[in-house]
């Protein structure tokens, strides 16, 4: 038996394998968009052939963080805003793992914004799903980084004076090599986009519009949605950075005018992932580092043999 025999296992996978049989059952509110992320992931993972035990799902804090409880894989429910640094290190330690990170808009675009920028910049080979509901849900409805200007809440009683953050544009400029937006109300597209994102070799950012029926919108407010890759009203080349940027800007502004544009906005298949870049310059081993600790034949280097002579 190898050390990590769950990795690379070729077999049929049933989507029920990702579902805890007894508890915990999801505690999200009825009508919550988060159910759609869970469902889309359960559909996408078997299709890309990744089993629960070769998948590491890292989440932050908030309603989105509960995803870890309801998707039965290896999981790391980290702390608010910090799913990305934990996830990307796990990927560097063992590149054979399928690493997925997830969090809310406050988690990823607010408190974890710095990590988001730098993980995108470095183009780590992983998928990042942001549950974007334009609100802080679990803490009971405060204004978030993507709440519209003028949004009133207990923490912004006179209406927010801030322009909402533009996550797609930010992601593109930071360096993500796959940027998409999907919506909970569009399960088929959501599944397809997650499959593409997981299979993409690089940082794949999926801004997932998840309605929060308790604090701001119900599902109807995300309908109708338009897939910009299929609509005749929009024409752009998703592999062209300039055209992608313009389409993103249009999309981000349209959302606050009640028009829901979704789809793949930017795809760069040529850019090497961070792991490949690091291997290229000799700063990352070819074999997964995590394997080495189980190799009985490996001769561990000693500072006494390697380094101390120069101190004589």
């Amino acid at each position: 038996m190898s050390t990590f025999s769950a990795i690379g296992e070729e077999r049929e996978i049933d989507r029920d394998e990702y579902t805890p049989t007894v508890e915990p059952q999801p505690t999200w509110c009825p009508g919550c968009g988060d159910f759609s992320v869970l469902k889309a992931l359960k559909q996408a993972l078997p299709e890309v052939g990744r089993t629960p035990e070769e998948t590491l799902l890292c989440t932050g804090i908030g309603c989105s963080g509960k995803l870890n409880s309801y998707l039965d894989t290896y999981g790391f429910h980290t702390i608010h805003g910090r799913s990305l640094p934990v996830a990307r290190a796990a990927k560097l330690a063992n590149p054979d793992l399928e690493v997925i990170a997830a969090g809310g808009d406050g988690d990823g675009y607010g408190i974890g914004g710095n990590h988001f920028i730098h993980t995108a910049r470095e183009n780590h080979d992983m998928t990042y799903i942001v549950f974007n509901n334009e609100i802080f849900g679990l803490t009971k409805g405060q204004t978030s980084p993507t709440s519209p200007k003028g949004h009133k809440s207990k923490t912004q009683p006179h209406g927010s004076a801030k322009e909402p953050l533009k996550p797609l544009s930010l992601s593109l400029n930071a360096g993500a090599s796959y940027v998409a937006r999907t919506a909970a109300v569009n399960p088929n597209q959501a599944k397809e986009i997650l499959i593409e994102a997981i299979e993409h070799d690089g940082f794949a950012h999926v801004d997932f519009l998840t309605q929060c029926p308790t604090w701001n919108k119900d599902a109807r407010q995300y309908v109708p949605y338009i897939d910009v890759n299929e609509s005749d009203d929009y024409e752009f080349d998703k592999t062209d950075r300039v055209e992608a940027a313009e389409m993103m800007r249009t999309t981000e502004e349209a959302l606050y005018d009640g028009e829901v544009l979704t789809g793949r906005f930017y795809v760069d298949e040529d850019r090497p992932s961070y792991g490949q870049e690091k291997q290229q310059i000799g700063e990352m081993p070819e074999e997964p580092l995590a394997e080495r600790y189980w190799d009985d034949d490996y001769e561990w280097e000693r500072s006494y043999d390697q380094f101390v002579d120069k101190h004589e």
């Binding site: 910090r82 580092l289 500072s303």
Partner: protein
């Protein structure tokens, strides 16, 4: 203070090559058979600002900086921005000659670069030279270097002059230059060295100089090592192959050494966006089955509070190093202090469940770096190695054999897939990673990718499978189990001999200290006993879990105890009293927080003034005495 030692101070500006020149000269002295110890003083600037390094060299062991110095090589600050007396920072150009001149011992030697420095700018220079019997050698080091090579080689000329004056053969210096320098600059440097050496011997009566190089002999091969080197090598020998960090003085040294060495070991180093990420990456790598570390200095470590707490709650093995400097806030970036002790013990929400070790010497830094990894992985707990700018940067000779030890890459209680199959699982196949009743509180872990090992790690309180739980019974069981690990670690540490004792067992008085002040305190204890004062010392390394009984025994065995530390509020004394719950009337403090580490004489004088003569500050020193309760 003895005449059998050389304390050579080389001073100049940042960027003048003080560090590399002093490192080579220290190594040459070591190779000649002497024990050496260096003390660095430098400003937070890239170019300019008064910088010096002292090398103390003697045939006997040296574990501390000395009192003052007996040889000054003043190069002058060639990058000085403020050549006027009235400038905010004063006349910087002259500082390498004028600063701390009072600390030059009687009969000491001054070599200064007359190409750059004019002593007439120093008040009463001639009178002071005469009063103190100093031997002064104005040499045009810059001119000599310029004529034969380049101006920056004036350091070499200074070393040549030094060797001529103290009667040291050039052999070891030249060997080291041959090892370190490419041919193009080697030849002019050798020429400059020899010319300066010959010129001084021809032009001056060197026999009249009262300072000479001691002679000594080593029984085995020695290495010139800093605390930062030792910590890094300890990590490597424990199989640490992942580091993540963000630059910050003085922790950057460990980060740099690891980063330069890891690629050839097939390891990974990551320079990341901030210290929150740095520690979180180390957590992620460790979770995925790699031995990992991160670290910082005070301000950066503050950002690590979150991931540190996450490692505690998820029981992820992790080593963090914290290189203290003077605080609060940005404080004094390049100056040592020990005032982050409480910060590392208590930062992050909830009850602390971590290990904190504070090595006292370079040799201990290697051993305790290894110990930190062993404890972190065996007990699945974050372990912090607490040191400071002093220990990180000081260079001392350590026998080479000290490092001749077997590597230990083991991951601790981590299960193979075969072993996992035997472990308890839930009906749906989830592995019980956090079982309630286990030996020493350590519950075995799996690694992502293993079949039969899936579980949830979470910063929330959790049940045995890792799922979030707020059940009171589970909460108590989990906290008690995690706390039990600290008891097991305390018992483990009792077999490790991390404390250091000096002085006679039956001494009347005691000195307690921790971390990097240990060597200085031990030298002071030696001097006090030579002067007829019956005193012993205990240098403590285990900050958490604290060696309560060992310290109690020490305090019980003496009349009074002086606690020596580089803090302003007596943090270590507070820690002792918190753990022992008594002795407030028996413990007094000697504190120093001016940015410089204790000199042995400050401890000697401080002890005599406070304990022997009674409750006072020693005059002439920037140290502070705080009496025991009730005094």
């Amino acid at each position: 203070m003895t005449d059998e030692e050389l304390i050579w101070r080389i001073s100049g500006g940042s960027g003048d090559g003080i560090a590399s020149t002093s490192q080579n000269f220290a190594k040459a002295l070591m190779r000649s058979g002497l024990n050496v110890f260096t003390h660095r003083h430098y400003p937070s600037r890239i170019r300019g600002g008064h910088t010096y390094t002292e090398i103390r060299a003697a045939a006997d062991p040296v574990e501390s900086r000395g009192d003052g110095y007996n040889f000054l090589l003043a190069l002058g600050d060639s990058f000085a921005r403020n050549p006027q007396e009235g400038a905010v920072y004063g006349n910087e150009e002259i500082k390498p000659l004028s600063e701390n001149l009072d600390e030059l011992r009687e009969g000491g030697v001054i070599v200064y670069d007359e190409g750059l420095l004019d002593p007439s700018e120093i008040p009463n220079f001639e009178e002071r030279v005469e009063e103190n019997g100093w031997h002064v050698f104005p040499l045009d080091l810059r001119g000599l270097a310029r004529d034969m090579g380049r101006e920056v080689m004036r350091n070499t000329a200074g070393v040549g002059a030094t060797c001529a004056l103290i009667g040291m053969d050039l052999e070891h210096v030249e060997d080291l230059m041959r090892d370190a320098m490419p041919e193009k600059i080697l030849d002019p440097n050798l020429e400059i060295l020899e010319t300066a050496y010959d010129q001084v011997r021809e032009e001056y009566d060197v026999d009249a100089v009262e300072v000479s190089v001691p002679t000594g002999e080593h029984e085995e091969t020695q290495l010139l090592m800093s605390g930062s080197d030792a910590i890094s090598y300890g990590a490597i020998d424990e199989g640490c192959r992942f580091i993540a960090g963000y630059p910050m003085t003085p922790w950057t040294e460990v980060f740099t050494i690891m980063t330069q060495n890891l690629p050839e070991l097939g390891g990974i180093s990551e320079q990341v966006e901030d210290e929150i990420a740095a520690a979180a990456l180390a957590v992620g790598a460790s979770h995925a089955g790699v031995k990992a570390m991160s670290g910082s200095s005070g301000g950066g470590f503050a950002l690590m509070s979150e991931p540190l707490g996450l490692a505690e709650m998820t029981e992820t093995p992790l080593v963090l190093v914290e290189a203290m400097r003077a605080g609060p806030s940005t404080g004094m970036p390049t100056k040592p202090e020990q005032s982050d002790l409480e910060h590392v013990l208590y930062t992050s929400q909830g009850d602390s469940q971590r290990v904190v070790l504070a090595p006292g010497t370079v040799a201990e830094a290697y051993e305790q770096s290894r110990l930190a990894f062993r404890l972190a992985y065996e007990y699945q707990i974050p372990t912090i190695l607490l040191y400071d700018q002093k220990l990180g940067g000081e260079l001392v000779n350590v026998p080479k054999s000290h490092f001749d030890r077997e590597p230990n890459p083991t991951l601790g209680k981590t299960l193979s897939e075969e072993e996992l199959a035997e472990q308890p699982h839930s009906a749906d196949g989830k592995f019980h990673r956090f079982q309630h009743d286990v030996e020493d509180g350590v519950t075995p872990r799996s690694i992502p990718g293993q079949k039969g090992g899936r579980y949830l790690a979470t910063g929330n309180e959790h049940d045995p499978t890792g799922h979030i739980s707020e059940s009171p019974d589970n909460r108590v069981a989990q906290i008690d189990r995690r706390t039990q690990k600290l008891e097991a670690i305390r018992a483990d540490l009792d077999t490790e001999d991390t404390s250091s004792y000096a002085g006679p067992d039956d001494a009347e008085y005691g000195i307690l200290t921790f971390g990097s002040q240990q060597g200085t305190v031990e030298e002071a204890v030696g001097r006090l006993n030579d002067a007829g004062v019956s005193v012993k010392s205990l240098g403590v390394s285990d900050m958490l879990p604290f060696p309560t009984e060992e310290v109690r025994t020490f305090i019980e065995s003496v009349e009074e105890v002086l606690v020596v530390e580089m803090t302003a509020s007596g943090q270590f004394r507070g820690l002792v009293q918190k753990n022992l719950g008594q002795y407030g009337e028996k413990l007094s403090s000697l504190l120093k927080y001016n940015g410089n580490p204790f000199e042995p004489a400050e401890v000697v004088d401080g002890f005599e003034a406070a304990i022997i003569e009674g409750d006072g500050d020693a005059s002439g020193h920037q140290t502070t005495f705080v009496p025991a309760a009730g005094d």
